[in-house]
Amino acid sequence: MTPLLAALLVGAALFGIGLYGALSQTNLVMIMMGVELMLGGAMVNLVAFWRHLHPEVYAGQMFVLIVMTVMALEAAVGFGVAIARFRAKGSVEMEEAAELRG
């Protein structure tokens, strides 16, 4: 097994755990935790491919930086939604948020 394969397996496993969590949890913040894990798995893949395909091109790391930013801002926006929802309804359980259809 090469480090690349090992890292890709880690990424896949984290993505799976995150997907399971995002789908199975009812609480908004727990769902966000699942999403963060999924993004973490994606980041592992990006770093592993950068390292083993084009380690001399540092632009590859930029993708990871952007994903990291997305993680932080996803958390900020999600918390903002959660605070608004909690003020309005007193809970952030997603099963009670059926009116939030897109």
């Binding site: 496993a13 997907l19 990291m68």
Partner: protein, 139 residues
Amino acid sequence: MTGQLIAVAFFGLAAIGFGAGVFLTRSMVRSALALLAAMAALGGLFLALEAEFLGVLQLMMMGTEMTLMAIFMVMFMMDPGGLGQMEMTHQKRTARAAGRSGAWPRPGWRSGPGGGGGPALHQRPSCRIAPWGWRSWSA
């Protein structure tokens, strides 16, 4: 090469273990701190893959972000300590299938136990939470 492989495997397994711990515990602060530990392990993984800046940055950013997540969990949950009985999951079968197919390439991967509903915890009101103890309650 082998040294790198060992480091990647170590931090990767740590990340997977803590990542699974996020959904196996019922204490919300534990859940958030397990996510923090998983993300910190990913930082170690990045360092092992020689992405220095990203690794240290990951350690730093996720430290603050997940700790703030812990306080938001404590604000929004009815029962942040995980002491009582509360159903926190839904659509278990779909989620399990999706998670399994998402992580399909891992040989021998089995998705975590389907979260949720440990029975009758309120009968033991002062029970101490067992280490990452989900099994001990639902057994």
